[in-house]
Symmetry: C2
Subunit: 387 residues, 2 copies
């Protein structure tokens, strides 16, 4: 599993002492000449490694990715950009690449400077440790408040897609403190990787939410080694699309399930919306509502909160269209509201999963979100994060 | 204090057994012929009493307001509207008014039917109890998870403005499960009350947030008895504007301070924005960020979270404009970031109040918000609300 499942990739994860106790520095590298693409946080405040990596992608095809946890290197001014550049340059030197061929990703505390000396010595260790077996160490080294590594693999006819991800707080559409590296040996010509990556991310990482936050550092990187003995054909392209989507969706689902303090995963499925964007706005509003999420934590099928959230979904400067008399809602398969009329039944809510299906009765558009509940533990983790 | 401070008003609050243990039904009435106006939740899902009261306001000047706590009468279908109509009609009968002259407000659980028999017998008691001394009972009867009543009074030359409010969760712009009734003896001709009420609400109730939620039931009502022995003049109008704003701001501040589980009140002041709407969007985004609010609870001046939130403030389908290199932030008076450069100082954070001032360095627009922290207690209250 993980980023070395596809042929042509090596990886490693080491303890560079950026964090006190756990592995905190990973490298993923393609041995054949790779092609690749990435998607980045839409936050207006972007971390130094995001800025540096975006610039590198303009100049060259990515051959390796360096990821550190513990320090986000965000809001660190000019020094932060120099630190990210130095990280890429040092990794390139060790890997015999150009600096522009290295992407750097960081996750952790915002505003603190990257301890560059530790990163440098860690890179020496990490470069020496690169191996096909190193995927698990890499998946471990990128974690922050995650409670376990997130990896996924899918196979197509003659090729493989593998990935790792981190993220458990600040998880939200537009890639919020979430890092993922997905590798494949399926051959992708330069410039085409982004066309495969974008829809896969939109259908996976961009439809999950833990706390509605959007980070300064989020990134999803796709690297193709082209090492599979397979031809590009339309049929194989289609198989690759499916495999890539599956890996992205699995990683996204693992992130929600490991959401900070999460005791439950809820799928919010909105149907019957007047437009796609309204369906997404409503699903997103429900998935991020503190009142909905505390009710989920309390195993309380307080569906009124779902509808109150649905009725206040920001859209085009107002709220998305909802007609209370047309709303139907089912909770874990029990219809609690039909065409605006409460059914006075109590759904079963004790499990660790909630399936909430809201039909707006207005049109054909649909959207769904995965979200977690809001627990005491979420508060504890985030109130004490720096202490 | 409260809604009977201004001349011409009587009020009462009784226990109608809608809730188990506390007063749950209030009436506020003007004895002289009153004029008035109201502002309502912008939620697309509006409770039955909101729909009924809006219709009544189209037909007549409001003379009395009936408010129940415990049941929101929202998402209750046709029966809910009939229940709200019956409540108004019964109150009108007891008070010798037309039904259209009565506004009905409800707050509490969504989706549960109003126990109309109890409301009816409670109205008899409440009508009999109406008195100038009843303002405190009324302020008590409208509370739900609030820990104490919220009242405010301001005096102008020869007139008085008094008000009561409830709200501690679902508190957010666009009036989110927040009810307020403001009364005055300053004379307001029919149709003009709204012109005074709207700016007062925009500058007070619409710039507070406890949890970013927007309820199905929110309302702010202004009633004028005209009983003050004072002439309308431009100078007096101006004094009334100030008194009305003061009462609304005081009630709003009390709501935030009593926010569910709140241990701290934070003022988020955004300056230097490119436009007013962007200033508001950014202040609002910060004020509603779970990561910011948990940091506030942890007394952690984690200013990176402020900036990450600022960079992801929804605006016109994208994010409001922010330039990281121009950002300056002070926390309780300590400059932690100046023109994008961290100052590596730790502000004092132990008090129950946080003053967070973010300058965007882009323009002249400004906005501010009051918000509370996100604590274990918020989670407990909202996970257990129905049980």
């Amino acid at each position: 599993v993980s980023v070395t499942a596809a042929a042509g990739f090596v990886a490693s994860g080491v303890h560079a002492r950026i964090r006190r106790e756990k592995k905190d520095l990973a490298i993923v590298r393609s041995l054949p000449r790779a092609t690749g693409a990435a998607m980045w946080t839409q936050n207006r405040v972007q971390a130094a490694p995001v800025l540096v990596s975006k610039a590198h992608l303009e100049l060259a095809q990515p051959q390796a990715v360096v990821i550190n946890s513990g320090v986000a290197n965000a809001l660190t001014g000019e020094r932060g950009e120099l630190d990210a550049l130095c990280t890429a340059a040092e990794a390139a030197r060790l890997l015999d690449l150009d600096a522009e061929e290295v992407l750097v990703l960081s996750t952790g505390v915002i505003g603190a400077p990257l301890p560059l000396d530790r990163v440098r010595s860690g890179l020496v260790d990490a470069a020496a440790a690169l191996s096909v077996e190193g995927g698990a160490d890499a998946a471990d080294a990128i974690l922050t408040t995650d409670t376990h590594p997130k990896t996924a693999v899918a196979h197509g006819p003659g090729f493989t897609v593998g990935g790792m991800a981190k993220g458990s707080g600040m998880i939200h559409p537009d890639l919020a403190t979430m890092l993922a590296v997905v590798t494949t040996d399926y051959p992708l010509p330069e410039g085409e990787a982004i066309d495969f990556l974008r829809p896969a991310v939109d259908g996976s990482f961009n439809t999950i939410s833990v706390d509605g936050e959007c980070s300064t550092n989020d990134a999803v990187v796709l690297l193709s080694s082209g090492a599979a003995a397979v031809e590009r054909t339309p049929a194989n392209d289609e198989a690759f699309v499916l495999a890539l989507r599956r890996v992205c969706k699995e990683l996204a689902a693992q992130i929600v399930a490991d959401g900070e303090g999460a005791t439950l995963v809820a799928e919010i499925a909105v149907t019957g919306a007047a437009s796609d964007s309204e369906a997404r706005a409503i699903a997103r509003r429900i998935a991020t509502s503190p009142l909905v999420k505390t009710a989920l934590f309390g195993r309380d099928a307080n569906w009124g909160r779902i509808l109150a959230a649905a009725g206040s979904a920001p859209h085009n400067g107002g709220y998305a269209h909802v007609d209370p008399s047309r709303l139907s809602l089912s909770w874990n398969g029990t219809a609690v509201l039909v065409d605006g009329t409460p059914q006075h039944v109590e759904p079963d809510v004790e499990s660790g999963r909630a399936e909430i299906a809201l039909d707006l009765g207005l049109g054909d558009a649909a959207a769904s979100y995965l979200t977690s509940d809001l627990s005491y533990e979420y508060v504890r983790i985030n109130a004490e994060y720096r202490s």
